[in-house]
Symmetry: C2
Subunit: 314 residues, 2 copies
């Protein structure tokens, strides 16, 4: 599992968290009734440590292992089968919460999808990034479940092609017509193909509504504004950072040059040329029509509205 997370075979922050929780329950199931306590505790701690080290920045991963570890520490003195049972229940609960989060997002956004409409999405904010239904794609799945007929343009999403590889696979497997385009075709698709609106996911959202997401999201929001069509971000409350006032505080990961320089072993950029490879960008709140969240659809002005909807106890 550590290898699978490290090599991105399991990707998407919620999916990583759920996978880590189940992996820890699996580790506990491996203990034999006769195993002595010290061996059990050593094995458990090593599993937690190894998982935490697999992706250094995935917040959901740390949340998942911390939750499982809390259950382990609370029940370590219990009879063996009781401990395993508790851990399995916690992992399942974590999984169910993620599924329920997706379902709520789907219900909050499905009403936006009219019959015959054409939507556009970027990267993969689908079931392959969460436990089941995703965020942006959860909206499409719920609209489909309600019998809506519509279709989706999926940006291929360079450099790693999550849109072409993952979103196109998910949507077509679910019977939703999907058309893959290169990222640079999105503007022309809006102009010529009557795109009704854009829905993407997000990686981190500030309390004024500025949102970090896969590189290219910012450009899409500008194109949507130019064409007078809505631009929505679908994300659970856990993606909003109550400590973050605005997007200036979001650090942007710049990844290595290899993702741009070659593809499938074939060099595409000459050696003397430089590359720039920001993995994310920040879309200012002013370009965002609304947030589709597990606490409902939130429209501007964001600021206080966001806080009230997402963190009512603060």
């Amino acid at each position: 599992m550590v290898e699978a997370i490290r090599s991105l075979r399991v990707r998407g922050a919620p999916a990583i968290g759920v996978a880590a929780a189940f992996q820890l329950a699996h580790v506990a199931r491996g203990f034999k009734p006769g195993t002595d306590r010290r061996t059990i505790e050593r094995t458990w701690s090593r599993a937690v440590r190894d998982l935490n080290a697999s992706r250094p920045t995935a917040v959901n991963l740390f949340a998942a292992t911390a939750r499982m570890d809390r259950v382990f520490q609370e029940h370590r003195a219990q009879p063996f089968t009781g401990l395993v049972h508790r851990l399995e229940r916690e992992a399942r609960k974590f999984f169910e919460e993620d599924l329920e989060m997706s379902r709520r997002i789907g219900r909050a956004g499905a009403g936006l999808i009219r019959n015959g409409s054409v939507w556009l999405t970027h990267c993969n904010a689908g079931g392959l990034a969460t436990a089941g239904l995703g965020t942006a794609l959860a909206v499409f799945y719920e609209a489909k479940r309600r019998g809506r007929t519509f279709s989706v343009f999926a940006d291929e999403t360079r450099p790693l092609l999550q849109g072409a590889r993952l979103t196109a696979w998910e949507l077509s497997a679910s019977g939703i017509p999907v058309t893959v385009i290169c990222d640079n075709m999105a503007g022309f698709a809006m102009a010529r193909k009557r795109v009704a609106g854009v829905i993407t996911g997000a990686d981190r959202i500030a309390m004024n509504g500025d949102a970090a997401n896969k590189i290219g999201t910012f450009g899409l929001a500008i194109l949507a504004k130019h064409h007078g069509i809505p631009f929505y971000i679908a994300a659970p409350a856990t993606t909003f950072d109550p400590e973050l006032a605005d997007g200036r505080g979001i650090p942007i990961e710049e990844r290595g040059t290899a993702e741009l320089r070659s593809f499938n072993g074939r060099r595409t950029v000459p050696e003397k040329a430089g590359t720039w490879n920001p993995a994310f960008d920040v879309t200012p709140a002013g370009l965002i029509t609304g947030f589709i969240t597990d606490r409902g659809l939130i429209r501007p002005p964001f600021g206080r509205t966001l806080k009230r909807a997402l963190f009512p106890d603060n």
Copy 2:
């Protein structure tokens, strides 16, 4: 040569025209002084026909073969060496005209490039698309010749990566610092890297200023407007179509699905998903700051200004 044009090893409308002219001169040089007239004429006609069939839509190709054929027909009765000499001279003249066109475009635009500025370009409008210096890139070459220091972001330009492969090679070989980005990073580059402006080429320009160019150009023009930076198109007078009132009359070539579905033999889009692959888009005149042409820099309002600058005799 026919094979080279067909397989896009020679690409870019002006470059195709020049290559065809030289190829016909080369065919004539191959005639032996003793060859009978009928064989010569048959060989010549076949060469013209084969070249014309290599790329069905390249206007410069037909212009080049027609010009060479006119010289052949006028001088076919002359002594053999005279005919060959005339054809070689015509091809060289065609080549020189193309070079001079690029030089004039470079001079018209070089003043825009300030020291320390950062520019952005799309696809390849460089020497690899013409006889020597290109259109958009001719501006950078002339600025460099004048001692300006500046750098250029090159969109990789999916699906065929002309920016990553060709523009990055040309600029870095000329000592101009170039940074390749994915197409979806252009907006973020404008926001974070202080891009001074955008210069692209064009494939066909209507008399109101609407311009067809490589897919993605339209989106770049919108992004430039959003950031308040200028968006220029560099093109010779021959790219403007005096018969075309506006961009609605420009047919958009939609290419096959293979360019998107796989890369270097590796499938990137699942079979059940569709693709859309327009090769060009149309940028409305209202988004264009100016045209950098071999007749000077032309600013809005276009309409009558364009006609007067480009077709003064009409």
